[in-house]
């Protein structure tokens, strides 16, 4: 690859020309920044400005572009150049002139600020190389779907429709899953009035007829390894025969189990064959197939059915489910219709506390149930017990405010869905490398360092933690869908599975190009590591939020680039600093903070280093500038991919080279974390708690280093935190470590 040649371009637009000595900045870029080309321009983001730069790239061999203008968040499209280059954005607008007053007193320090940022930009450029994208790119585009129920079948059919080959692995002897036992399903078409065919048979036919879809029944996954584009899975049949196949991505649609109603004896669970759960009733209805549903106990005809909603759900009682399964209200309405449609004289009472039939389909279906004469009562059931050939149901009617004792021939308990999510990797100890064993309870049996199944989120479900990103998986290339993710009905499962299929396809397409999945979508950089130097401390393998790094028998990390999301947590974790990305490394940041011109101890010009998360804190500071807020001219901000990527060496270096304070700004941590790299902020706080020792040895005050959780909306607070640090430094004085 061609030698590095820095081209530094200083913009004079947006008042930069008036506020700053741009000539001076050009000189700094050339002399100190060693820029091969350094130019100023009145209006850099204009067609002319951009063309000027592109020409230098094409004709002058510039391959390290430094744009000293506005924030990296502005004019991004304008500064998207062609060619193998790196791009450094020096934030003179939002980062300097907009946060400083336009006064003569302020002029000097503002100029210094700008000058430092130009130095920093050039320093970064010097140590970056254009990302070449991962060497080993998986090119397999064959989708593995684990689970042959409604969700799995949908994912398979939809992916195949888009042209991708699919293999379904189903542990039972037939496709269809739970829904195969349903008599009918909740309608998904207006007028949303009548239960409709489940469509299972049609789907199975479609799958059998589709050359792109192969099905392996009575089979489970006994080992999963590899990465997006190059997964490998051992598929083992009941008989124990195992075949190993390669896949590009994986969809886990392992569904749910119904909550065991025997755990609800107070509601008659297990006390009488005439008390069934919703799945039980589906079986009865399927058997009756439109005819009269008979009592399980004695085959007598049924005159009255009572449906008990929220059975063992939405309850804090020991062993109950604290959540709501979402579909049960509509399901009970559907099931009451089984009776009403067959014989309107059968009484069907639904006892609920909140009737949850959302959306247009839900409310229409509720009304349809009422029209068919289903009785809805807001009530809490306290006891169901067999009594004289029928069932006695005790409940409090909350509308009539009255204890009621009613009789029924059949009671249906709306119990919840329990995710079939494999082993909880937080709970079970992981096998040591080399001693890896199959776990019968595991769905995927991944050989990942961090465990055999996907991390559970809440209540044992494999959902995404993020509201805006329901498919933000923590195991790149592996997506869950259907009730294993969140309790849901068929309609939602179909929608969910279709979405998951897209993400899986996207993961395969990304892998082929060595591209990262979001949040750093399209990032071609990848972590490389110098094996010599590695001390096998395992921090990177343990701390990687996405389980991207395995260990070989000798405890050396094994990177799986396609699993990597480029957050740099491994880089932050590494005590011997052998992990780096082409365009983001211990050097690219370390050299920036060293490039700063450090005034001496008596100058009364302290320096404050701010390492800000590029997704929340940095935009917050940008927007503060837009709003005309100001902060100390002694601040030098460096955006980082994630606070998890902050290597403590940066702080130590900063302190050693005379910085008077350092602030780390990351996202919210804890259970309700907002860090899109899961633990970045968490880890940073942990690591920084250890920096105190360093401070002691240098005998510096602890207040000089602060770590904060900063949300993107902390537009007022972020600058304030900087001001606070400035004030602290005033109080405790300058660092003695200036050279």
């Amino acid at each position: 690859m061609a030698d590095a040649k820095i081209g530094a371009y200083i913009c004079k637009g947006c008042g930069l020309g008036e506020r700053l000595e741009t000539k001076q900045l050009v000189t700094i870029a050339t002399r100190e920044g060693k820029a091969g080309v350094a130019k100023e321009h009145d209006f850099l983001c204009s067609a002319a400005g951009v063309e000027m730069i592109q020409n230098d790239i094409n004709n002058e061999g510039v391959n390290r572009v430094v744009i000293a203008a506005c924030s990296r968040r502005a004019k991004t499209e304008a500064f998207a150049f062609d060619g193998e280059i790196t791009l450094s954005r020096v934030n003179l607008r939002e980062g300097v002139i907009w946060v400083r007053p336009d006064t003569d007193e302020a002029r000097e320090t503002t100029e210094e600020m700008a000058a430092d940022y130009v130095r920093m930009g050039c320093a970064e450029a010097k140590y970056m190389t254009p990302p070449a994208s991962a060497q080993e790119k998986g090119s397999n585009n064959h989708l593995l779907v684990v689970g042959g129920g409604m969700s799995g079948m949908t994912a398979a059919i939809e992916a195949a429709k888009a042209g991708y080959p699919v293999t379904i692995v189903e542990k039972t002897g037939a496709l269809g899953g739970a829904a195969a036992n349903f008599y009918k399903r909740i309608p998904d078409r207006s007028p949303y009035a009548e239960p409709m065919d489940t469509g299972i048979d049609a789907m199975i036919k479609t799958i059998e007829a589709d050359a792109k879809i192969s099905v392996k029944l009575n089979s489970t996954i006994t080992k999963t390894s590899g990465a997006p584009g190059s997964f490998s899975a051992d598929i083992t049949t009941e008989s124990g025969a195992t075949s190993t196949e390669n896949f590009g991505a994986i969809i886990m649609a392992s569904g749910f189990k119904s909550y065991d109603m025997n755990l609800l004896p107070e509601l008659g669970g297990g006390k009488s064959p005439d008390v069934v759960d919703q799945m039980g009733l589906e079986k009865l209805a399927k058997a009756a197939n439109g005819g009269a549903i008979k009592r399980p106990s004695d085959g007598r005809e049924i005159k009255k059915v009572i449906f008990v909603q929220c059975a063992g759900q939405r309850s804090e009682k020991e062993g109950h489910l604290s959540y709501c399964s979402g579909h049960c209200c509509s399901t009970s309405i559907k099931q009451a219709m089984y009776f009403k449609d067959q014989n309107p004289d059968i009484e069907t009472d639904i006892l609920f506390t909140d009737l949850r039939t959302p959306g247009a389909p839900g409310e229409d279906f509720y009304r349809s149930g009422q029209e068919k004469g289903i009785t809805f009562r807001k009530g809490v059931v306290s006891d169901v017990s067999p009594a004289g050939g029928s069932l006695k149901v005790k409940f409090k009617d909350l509308i009539l405010n009255e204890e009621i004792s009613d009789e029924a021939d059949l009671v249906v308990l709306a119990t919840g869905q329990v995710a079939n999510a494999g082993v909880d990797i937080e709970a079970v100890k992981q096998d040591e490398p080399g001693e890896w064993k199959v776990n019968a309870d595991s769905i995927l049996n991944m050989n990942y360092r961090q465990g055999k199944d996907l991390p559970h989120l809440k209540h044992g479900f494999n959902d995404s933690h993020f509201i805006c990103f329901p498919y933000e998986t923590r195991r790149t290339g592996i997506y869950t869908c259907g009730p294993v993710r969140r309790p849901m009905d068929i309609q939602q499962a179909i929608e969910d599975a279709t979405g998951a299929a897209l993400k899986a396809i996207q993961a395969m397409e990304n892998a082929q190009l060595g591209r990262a999945a979001h949040p750093r979508s399209g990032d071609l950089s990848y972590p490389s590591f110098r094996k010599e130097g590695c001390t096998q401390c395992k921090r990177c393998t343990v701390e990687c939020p996405f389980g991207a790094i395995d260990e070989d028998e000798r405890r050396y990390p094994v990177f799986n680039e396609s699993r990597c999301r480029r957050c740099g947590t491994c880089m932050g974790a590494c005590p011997v600093r052998v992990i780096s990305f082409e365009n983001y490394s211990v050097e690219t940041v370390g050299q920036q903070l060293k490039a700063v011109d450090m005034p001496d101890e008596f100058s009364e010009k302290p320096r404050i280093l701010v390492l800000a998360c590029e997704n929340d804190a940095y935009p917050a500071l940008d927007m503060a500038a837009q709003q005309g807020m100001q902060y100390s001219a002694f601040t030098r901000v460096i955006p980082v991919r994630c606070l998890g990527s902050v290597n403590t060496i940066w702080i130590t270096d900063a302190l050693n080279s005379g910085y008077d304070g350092a602030i780390l700004m990351g996202c919210q941590k804890g259970d309700n974390y907002q860090c899109h790299f899961v633990k970045g902020s968490e880890l940073a706080h942990m690591r920084m708690s250890k920096i105190d020792d360093t401070l002691k040895t240098l005998n510096l005050e602890q207040e000089r280093v602060a770590t904060y959780e900063v949300a993107i909306t902390d537009i007022k607070r972020a600058p304030q935190l900087i001001e606070d640090m400035a004030a602290t430094i005033e109080k405790i004085g300058m660092s003695p470590f200036k050279f």
Partner: protein, 427 residues
């Protein structure tokens, strides 16, 4: 507007809210050519007007930042703002779409330096703040508005303000003679993500939204809670600017009502639960709140959040559809009705009454550019009859953000199936 290139392998996404953004990004990140049209000056849609999300209480702008980064970085995706689809012809895999772009009067040169806004004097009610508070005639809706480019309100064109703005711009970014433009494109599939609008609260006459200043809508309350909203994050009664510390929330304001919206809007219960937490956030323990509801629909794992709010002793839940509202001499809305759990009558004065207004499809039944199968509520049905036209998000049903994004992701695949077939890529 520079030349837009599209073929019948291009996917058109209509609507730049979170659903449209998601659908467009997911498709583009699968390597597809995507054109995203948004009728407003910037993308982000309704979620950009939210202070927080339920149940995590995290900031929507956090996810928006990520999506904007994805958008700026993706060369497969072309964004057209201030553009609407006026007509669609053709069929699956080969649609001819007519786009109408209304003038922004500001071109790509704009650096968002803000000089034009400084000189323009005329102010207008802020759409972004649902009419609470004003904005200049040259403006950026909010700090994260994308494209980060100002817009001149058409109403100042031809006034001295417009000339002042032009004079203030150093970059020839302002073109006062910009004209509406019509473009025709060929696309293979259409993702319809035009979302929802709040139901017109004035139509719910018994609640007097049009008569009592201290009866407001949930979307207005949301803007008030935002530190960068019209009240700087203070919960003030429009009537007299007094801080609202005893706040009533009326559920199903327009929803589940055959006189208004027959459907359940799904999100309102959760939105209200979320908004009660704003009261605690602002006032610690010094507040009271009553939620008047028919059923609290905190579906699936979100029910935890409901349980958490229920545990707050300052918040009361009353199972009752409020009959009507009157106003006492202090300007307090007085809510009249019957608590149906055991029959208790009430006439409760509150500082402020928030109507949890329902979700109405943005596009009226007769407003579609081609004939589309809708359900009676006006949402697009998933029906083969709609061919290569797929609804995403709230144009398909009243959905929360999470489900809207799922729906958008699914619709992206459906569209990809169409263009892949066109490209003969199967097998």
């Amino acid at each position: 507007m520079s030349e837009v290139i599209a073929t019948n392998q291009t996917i058109l996404v209509v609507g730049g809210g979170i659903s449209g953004l998601t659908a467009a990004l997911e498709a583009a990140e699968c390597g597809k050519q995507v054109i995203l049209v948004e009728k407003n000056p910037s993308v982000g849609g309704r979620v950009s007007q939210l202070y927080k999300y339920f149940p995590k209480l995290c900031m929507p702008s956090c996810g928006l930042e990520i999506n904007l980064r994805r958008l700026k970085a993706n060369k497969n995706l072309r964004l057209l703002t201030m553009t609407e689809v006026t007509h669609v012809e053709g069929d699956t895999g080969n649609y001819t779409v007519t786009l109408k772009t209304t003038p922004r009067y500001v071109n790509e040169n704009c650096t968002a330096c803000g000089e034009c806004a400084k000189v323009v004097e005329t102010e207008f009610a802020s759409e972004y703040n649902y009419g609470l508070g004003k904005r200049k005639g040259a403006y950026l809706n909010h700090p994260m508005a994308h494209p980060q480019r100002y817009i001149l309100d058409a109403r100042i064109i031809g006034t001295p303000d417009a000339d002042k703005a032009k004079a203030a711009c150093k970059y020839d970014a302002i073109e006062l003679d910009m004209q509406p433009a019509e473009t025709q494109l060929t696309v293979g599939a259409i993702i319809w993500a035009t979302g929802w609008k709040p139901y017109d609260a004035a139509k719910i006459q018994p609640y007097g939204y049009d008569r009592y200043p201290n009866v407001i809508t949930s979307v207005e309350f949301e803007r008030m809670a935002d530190p960068f909203g019209p009240t700087g994050g203070k919960l003030l009664r429009p009537g007299d600017g007094k801080e609202a510390k005893n706040v009533a929330f009326i559920q199903c304001a327009g929803s589940r009502d055959v006189n208004h919206l027959a459907h359940c809007s799904r999100i309102c219960c959760m939105a209200t639960l979320k908004q009660t937490t704003y009261l605690r956030e602002k006032y610690a323990d010094d507040f009271k709140s009553t939620v008047y509801y028919i059923d609290i629909r905190a579906i699936d794992r979100i029910d935890d959040f409901y349980q958490r709010v229920q545990a707050d002793t300052n918040i009361t839940f009353t199972k009752s559809k409020v009959a009507n509202i009157t106003q006492d001499k202090d300007g307090n809305p007085v809510l009249h009705g019957v608590d149906t759990e055991g029959y208790h009558r009430y006439s409760n004065p509150h500082d402020l009454c928030v109507l949890a207004v329902g979700m109405e499809p943005s596009v009226p039944k007769d407003g579609f550019p081609m004939s589309i199968k809708l359900n009676p509520e006006g949402f697009v049905e998933q029906d083969p009859a709609n061919g290569g036209f797929f609804a995403a998000g709230c144009s398909s049903d009243a959905l929360d953000v999470n489900r809207a994004v799922q729906s958008a992701t699914a619709s992206a695949l459906r569209a990809i199936q169409v263009v892949n077939k066109v490209a003969g890529m199967e097998g």
